[in-house]
């Protein structure tokens, strides 16, 4: 039985799609057959980040409307074995997502996949609701700033009340916090909320801390999931997060200000 993971946040621009791409790729690298679904109908991005936008023929909405089969719409990732992408439709809106349709697609995927990663759109409206409704696990992507934390808190409330597990009285969804764009330097200066602050407010298990890194933007623009960049500390942090998701105990890294060596200080380190 496949595990359905929703990557959500409430707030936009915190790194949901980057995280979906990285976590999905990471799971596939670990040998788990994984599908990433873009629920952001009308504002599709996942295909860009995964560098498969030129191969999109059918999309998620086509499958929901039974205009195409799942196999026709799934795009096989060229770099990572066992990774598939189901892109969103750019020409439709979120009303195209029906609960029955989404459930049918997820059930069909669950037959052959180990993990299904649902990349949620921002907000708390239909798209986000559909992305989380059938989830087993929720990854709450949060930036260390007050409004993002508040929105994450709101999303956690919705996860507890408006999902299938909540409505049918099943086991509650596993909730994990993924703190992105974390900058120890700015925390030290008091410009940014610390991990402890965010954990204190949200009171859920910490899956990982992704440090602020230029490589994330570069990777997104090049269409390479950042987890594939071994040199990048963000990529390494995502790898740790995937391992924790699979039940391993990994210590949290990149929490303190990195001491730069003399040469790095002279020439600037490319983190």
């Amino acid at each position: 039985m496949a595990k359905i993971i929703v990557v959500t946040s409430g707030k936009g621009g915190v790194g949901k799609t980057t995280t979906s791409a990285a976590i999905g790729t990471g799971l596939a690298l670990k040998g788990k057959k994984t599908a990433i679904i873009d629920f952001d109908v009308g504002l599709r991005n996942l295909d860009l980040v995964m560098n498969c936008e030129r191969r999109v023929v059918y999309d998620f909405v086509n499958v929901i409307n039974e205009e195409a089969t799942l196999n026709q719409a799934l795009i096989k990732d060229k770099r990572t074995e066992g990774l598939f992408i189901l892109p969103a439709s750019q020409t439709r809106d979120k009303d195209a997502l029906t609960q029955e349709g989404v459930q049918r697609v997820l059930n069909e995927l669950a037959e052959t996949f180990d993990y299904i990663v649902c990349d949620s759109p921002a907000g708390i409206e239909k798209g986000a609701h559909m992305a989380m409704y059938f989830a087993d696990v929720a990854i709450i992507v949060t930036n260390p700033e007050v409004s993002s934390v508040r929105d994450s808190d709101r999303i956690l409330g919705i996860l507890q009340s408006k999902t299938m597990r909540a409505e049918t009285g099943g086991e509650p969804i596993e909730e994990y916090l993924l703190l992105t764009r974390y900058s120890p330097e700015r925390v030290e200066k008091g410009e940014m909320l610390s991990v402890e602050d965010v954990e204190d407010i949200l009171a859920i298990q910490l899956l990982g801390i992704i440090p602020e890194s230029k490589t994330v933007l570069k990777a997104s623009n090049q269409g390479v999931p950042v987890i594939l960049d071994d040199e990048s500390i963000a990529g390494q942090a995502y790898e740790d997060a995937v391992n924790r998701l699979l039940g391993e105990e990994v210590e949290h890294r990149f929490l303190t200000v990195a001491k730069k060596g003399f040469l790095k200080r002279m020439f600037g380190g490319n983190q």
């Binding site: 808190d153 956690l156 409330g157 507890q160 009340s161 597990r165």
Partner: protein, 290 residues
């Protein structure tokens, strides 16, 4: 006058607008609570299945002067017409202490059925003679000893045996457990931004943080065993004896019976981010240490 007191003066006549509009958020939170309950059910049995607890309950007392079926019936009809909402499954204790003839024979089965027709549910008798006690037990009504000044009339030994009987019988009375579970609501998961929880008719106990943007309401007291960062409104139906307790005061707003303080006022309190209780003292919202 200090600045804080000024604020109290200013706010004391303010009441929360549209207080009646706060409605129970059962739709949102019911699912949770229910899921918790069914979770518990699915687990293998362990530990005691019940607790016997002493508890003080306020019950309606029907003081009987005499029991004459037709006249009782007639007067009840009049009383129901005056206050129709009052008579809705209300548990009552039948007090026999004010009987004009203390030895009057009373058919408790008749009396009980008649009361129930008007929405009053006798749960016990209070006082009365030994004959009354026996007749009441037949009708399924245990006896509560009469108030102190009359107790001395009955022999001590008999009294204690009656006490025991009353206790064991009254635990069987359905009203006890039903009332207890109805008066307080316990929440174990964090109350998140956007969620609203209303404990109707009783206290609200939260064993987790109440987030900024969340709202907890109760007709009675509110206890938060964690930081209170959202809004807490106790005594929303006007109970000015209600109190709010929390481990750390970081609230956006606290209100008791409509008298409120907002975060801006609360931040200047010495107990900001400290454990505190809030209560009303002649319409002033007092925040003090616990």
């Amino acid at each position: 006058m200090t600045k804080t007191e000024d604020t109290i003066e200013e706010l004391k006549n303010n009441t929360i607008p549209n207080r009646e509009e706060f409605k129970p958020a059962n739709e949102q939170n019911g699912g949770n609570l229910q899921s918790k309950a069914s979770l518990n059910n699915s687990q293998p049995p362990s530990g005691p299945t019940f607790n016997l607890k002493g508890s003080q309950l306020t019950l309606m007392v029907l003081e009987l002067h005499e029991f004459h079926f037709d006249r009782f019936n007639q007067q009840m009809t009049q009383a129901t017409q005056r206050a129709p909402n009052f008579f809705q499954q209300t548990p009552v204790v039948l007090s026999l202490e004010k009987l004009s003839n203390p030895n009057e024979n009373i058919d408790f089965i008749d009396l009980s059925q008649l009361c129930q027709e008007y929405g009053l549910y006798p749960v016990a008798i209070k006082g009365g003679s030994e004959e009354h006690q026996l007749a009441a037990i037949v009708a399924g009504l245990p006896r509560i000893p009469a108030s102190k000044n009359r107790e001395s009339l009955t022999p001590q030994k008999q009294d204690s045996s009656q006490n025991k009987e009353t206790k064991s019988l009254s635990t069987k009375a359905p009203v006890d457990t039903a009332t207890l579970s109805a008066i307080s609501q316990t929440v174990t998961r964090p109350v998140r931004s956007g969620q609203q929880i209303y404990a109707q008719g009783g206290d609200l106990i939260v064993l987790a943080p109440v987030s900024a943007g969340a709202e907890v309401l109760a007709d009675g007291n509110i206890h938060v065993y964690g930081p209170l960062r959202g809004r807490a409104l106790a005594g929303v139906k006007g109970n000015s004896n209600a109190r709010i307790f929390c481990h750390s005061l970081e609230a956006e707003l606290i209100s008791i019976a409509g008298h409120y303080k907002v975060s801006e006022d609360l931040r200047s309190q010495p107990l900001w981010k400290q454990p505190m209780q809030a209560r009303l003292d002649s319409k002033h919202l007092i925040i003090e240490k616990i």
